[in-house]
Point group: C2
Chain length 223, copies 2
DNA sequence: TCGTGTGAACGAATTCACAGCG
DNA sequence: CGCTGTGAATTCGTTCACACGA
């Protein structure tokens, strides 16, 4: 996909190495809005409308999208369906991703049951835990398997992406195993700073950090 | 830095309205590292060490801290305990915060059982749900209560902060009620863009968005 | 005319580099 | 000497403002 115009779905002639994190998040935003708008039967949408949600300006929307091509029509706006497809493609959602969930506790269960998961192209192919009481139990059409078999399972099922919901203490061991087995990206919910080799993309979600950013805001806002 | 030495615990003569979000997150980072270092019995720590975790430079660390005063000693580094206390104070952790949890599903349970919660000054004073089968059930020393009583409960118990783990469909109603009852900050896990009045600070955690930022990275990294 | 696409201007955040203090 | 604290330089992200095409 990255080279000069091979056919069809390859408009990415530039390398996008400099797209900021916040810009990527905004693309996710636009995507969700486009889903709504499309469901409502609208055919086109303006940058102004895309911006209306969340403190984004229309110029920002246009700039974001212009990094990836020009999808809009002057005087009209953006065609809803096309734009949705293009953003999905940009975000890498034009395919399914094989995901493993490590940690079958309450948080793992919450992730597992979370609807938007499978629907959006994420295919959960394994659930792993260390607890003998949980191993073998069925979650939907998957049986919980032993973390001891992680490497074998990841390799055999070509897991590309993992969600880690283990306790903090075991998280580093788990990501070492995941990285060793070839997993390319990890979403970590364990409240622990993890070290991963450079070829692995890691993202942390940390409840305490989020709460602290709230208490900071409350403490320092001018009243 | 901060103006002419008023006393003791009030070095905040300037308004910190311009501290960036990422800077606040880094403060949380430093705090966690300081906890470790302190537990290990160290007395001082350098900006270089504080930076070592996560792609932060030592200059960044010094700059971050310098916004709030000068806590370090040249040639020596920062005194661990003092710096920890100061960062806690900066983040608003010098007190406890009264928290309500709305949504007693799997995610709510995960948040509830999350250890680092109560330990770090967050005092959970209510758990609410709509499900009659759940209402009345005990979670630890709290009974799950009816969301219909939210306003009364929030007011009576002086809830300042709420964590929303309801399904997407009910999240907006819940935050409307929370905001109406005087809650000042909300951490939202429901996958829905929420509207809150300006005096309420809202933070979203969205699984799909996090996954999309991973698939974007995987799709566009140069191999 | 309307709204995109985009250079140019601006502003915010990070890094550099070094003076100065312990 | 070692390491902080901080202006200056730089990089990065956002907003402005308008030419241009549908």
């Amino acid at each position: 996909m990255t080279g000069p115009a091979s056919g069809l779905y390859s408009p990415f002639v530039k390398s996008f190495t400099k797209i900021s994190d916040s810009a990527v998040r905004r693309l996710s935003h636009y995507l969700r809005f486009l889903d709504d708008v499309e469901a409502a039967g609208r055919r086109t949408v303006s940058s102004e409308e895309l911006a209306a949600r969340g403190g984004i300006t229309s110029a920002q929307v246009r700039k974001d999208l212009s990094h990836f091509g020009s999808f809009g029509k002057r005087g009209t706006g953006y065609p809803v369906t096309l734009l949705r497809e293009r953003i999905e493609e940009i975000l890498g959602l034009g395919r399914t991703w094989r995901v493993a969930l490590v940690g079958a506790g309450k948080l793992g269960a919450a992730v597992f049951h979370y609807g938007g998961f499978r629907r959006q192209g994420f295919d959960l192919v394994a659930v792993l835990d260390t607890d003998p009481a949980k191993i073998g139990r069925r979650w939907g059409d998957l049986a919980i398997e032993d973390v001891a078999d992680l490497t074998r399972i990841v390799k055999k099922r070509h897991v590309e992406l993992a969600v880690v919901t283990t306790p903090a203490a075991s998280a580093q061991d788990v990501v070492d195993a995941l990285a060793g087995a070839g997993v390319e990206a990890i979403l970590n919910f364990a409240p622990r700073k993890l070290v991963v080799p450079p070829q692995v993309t890691l993202r942390d979600v940390n409840l305490v950090m989020e709460l602290e950013s709230l208490t900071f805001a409350l403490t320092h806002r001018d009243r």
